[in-house]
Symmetry: C2
């Protein structure tokens, strides 16, 4: 037992020749360091608007045209000279002569002179001379004559040129996420393609000689590779493109070679091998190849988490435990990735009462998974090894490091998955 | 003017030889008919778990194995015979002889007899003979001897075989959406593939001779095809696969031929041509090829909406107006499509106070787009032709047919896009 180690866990590890987790970093500090280590990416690409949904615009798009391109009818009815209709009333119609019939795509040939009108459909170009549209409901037609029973003001029932989108106005801004309506706005101004930020490529590795890919047989002592698939799923949900590099043998040289290859990507995530066991090699390799920014954070689940920088790229070392790893994907990996991808922070939060008291340890942030049942948050937390406890949850609540319980009935903020 | 038409709009249309919208159907009745017209699809396919995120499971998946496959250490420490540790205390350790060291993947060779122990890492198989794990923190190691300072109960710090997932237990149910955690649960039981429901294929057509695809030049009187792209986007967001069939000329025979081809898909959506103008041919073709279920619904925006059934497939006729069409995509198309795709109803709803009074007409449901600003719903509604009013909105509120206003400060339910 050495005098310089004050933490009981550290003393214990020292006794065994195991390396201690350095003093645990607070969760908020770790999150701050992790998100500051990465930067919004510069890489852009061109996407057809049919493939641009949910992508992030990498350009300010201004409209090259007025939408509509010209004044047009906003109603089915008659294009008129509004002055003609001033005397019109329910019992004393004004009678106009019909000179032309337009459909939505028709280009008017005739000018509407006083005393005349043109049949228009919603969307028809407004003929020259006309300055308003009388709704069909306010008229009566007999042969070539049209009786107007209601006056219209200049511009009434007319969509003005550029009224929806003015030429040169900004339709989509850099960093905006392309929703269906934004895709529609791009179509409205005739854009078939748009510059978007590339999806960050995230290299995913797993360590642990006991880990076997799904689809193969395992024997006692082996486990299936869960983490590569949950990490890849969360990467996809947050605008990234997973690059699965598979299992790396538990040897320094192998991990060194794997990292060297992995850092060709925008971010590297490795699961397993961040615990304090003697075979913990991720931290050693991070130290030897670059900087180790933290190792061990005051959070449950997810304590044995490491972050390093190798060749200018962030390398996130996730716990091997599947639930700890997935929880960290949501609370650390997703914010890092969204920053790289130019995506806004995840904001799916609902505030509901807690269905049952939750107890938490002082000194660390705890994330508890919950289901939303009849408008209340029901703790779904089982134990950190049970991936099924996450599979049945709708989201999680965060209990701060200085709280030791949240009472039943208290309102909690649930971040939805 | 004929005596049998009582609605003023109908009278007006009759006067012009235009066909009236039949009596408007209530929005709720239209939605009921639309969702009942479609059925959850039978078509299934096999997806690799790497591609299964957000797909809908088409099978009940039971685990072929216990997870973990065998009892294993839940902590780094020593596998012991728990009975040996009963007398252990902070000042009077029990001393055991270390016989073997296991890593997570190691298979134990030695049986742990009383008075002995094996070094285990989290995840190590529990050696025969041992029934508990003493945490490394509660021990001190000297040469081949280990001092235990704390007693353990049988099973303590051990993950039991099948504790996470028992063999034959249900891991994923039919109709469950595969979240990252569900994908992880499939990986945990060794599944590399899963049966999922196929994505419904949605044929998208647009009518209107004035409509031009984005990327080409337009002249006055023409407009870009917005609707095909907004419909396709909403289809993607709701688990479907858009099949863009482009513009159909405004002729009965052309639309007839296009529908004949389109009904090879699971659902058909056509925009434009559902208004009451003389060139409204969608309704004629629906009548001639199959049944017309409704034409015109009491909703704003989105009134000129039609639904038919052709060759057993639902054909939804959307207004040509881009905002009306997109609004209908959210409130009618999405529920139909989610039913076909076995997806649960869209449930992203937040309840917030309204920032400004909203006035609505009695007798029809109105959907008003809103932005969420500082926790309040700010009406974004501009006018029904402005796609930009949707592009800047976060969601919409529904004002029932019997309400004529919602006061500032009243809490409203916002369905988020």
């Amino acid at each position: 037992m050495t005098a310089r180690l004050h933490d009981p866990e550290d003393r214990a590890h020292a006794r065994h020749g195991m390396r201690p987790l350095k003093e645990l970093m607070s969760f908020n500090e770790a999150l701050r360091i992790a998100t500051n280590l990465v930067h919004p990416m510069d890489r852009r690409e061109t996407a057809a608007i049919g493939d641009a949904l949910h992508r992030v615009s990498a350009e300010d798009v201004r409209s090259p045209i007025d939408v509509p391109l010209a004044d047009r009818a906003a109603m089915d009815g008659y294009a008129v000279v509004s002055r003609d209709t001033i005397p019109a009333g329910k019992t004393k119609p004004v009678t106009l002569r019909r000179i032309e019939t337009l459909y939505a795509d028709g280009v008017p040939r005739e000018r509407v002179a006083p005393g005349r009108c043109t049949v228009v459909a919603t969307g028809s170009m407004l003929p020259k001379g006309a300055d308003a549209v009388v709704m069909v409901e306010d008229t009566e037609s007999e042969g070539g004559l049209v009786k107007v029973y209601s006056p219209v003001r200049p511009g009434e029932n007319v969509s003005r040129r550029g009224e929806d989108i003015a030429r040169k106005s900004l339709v989509v801004r850099t960093e905006e996420v392309l929703t269906p309506a934004k895709v529609g706005a791009l179509a409205a101004i005739g854009r078939a393609r748009v510059r978007v930020y590339a999806r960050p490529r995230v290299a995913i590795l797993t360590t642990g000689d006991e880990v076997v890919p799904p689809g193969k047989r395992i024997r006692a002592g082996q486990v299936y590779d869960i983490n590569s698939h949950t990490i890849a799923s969360v990467v996809r949900e947050n605008g990234g493109e997973p690059v699965l590099l598979g299992r790396v043998p538990d040897r320094l040289e192998a991990l060194h070679a794997a990292f060297k290859k992995a850092i060709a990507n925008d971010l590297v995530v490795v699961s397993g091998g961040s615990s304090v066991g003697e075979k913990d090699i991720v931290v050693d390799v991070l130290r030897s190849m670059g900087d180790l920014l933290f190792h061990g954070i005051a959070v449950k689940p997810g304590r044995p988490t490491a972050l390093g920088r190798v060749g200018g790229k962030a390398v996130l070392g996730m716990p091997g435990n599947p639930t700890s790893c997935l929880s960290n994907c949501y609370v650390i990996l997703a914010p890092m990735l969204r920053r790289i991808a130019h995506l806004p922070p995840h904001e799916r939060i609902v505030e509901v009462p807690l269905a049952k008291r939750v107890v938490s340890a002082i000194g660390r942030v705890e994330f508890h998974t919950v289901r939303i049942v009849e408008g209340r948050a029901v703790p779904a937390y089982k134990e950190s090894s049970a991936i099924t406890s996450m599979a049945h949850a709708d989201g999680y609540i965060e209990i701060p490091a200085n709280a030791h319980l949240v009472e039943k009935g208290e309102r909690v903020r649930v971040t939805l998955f």
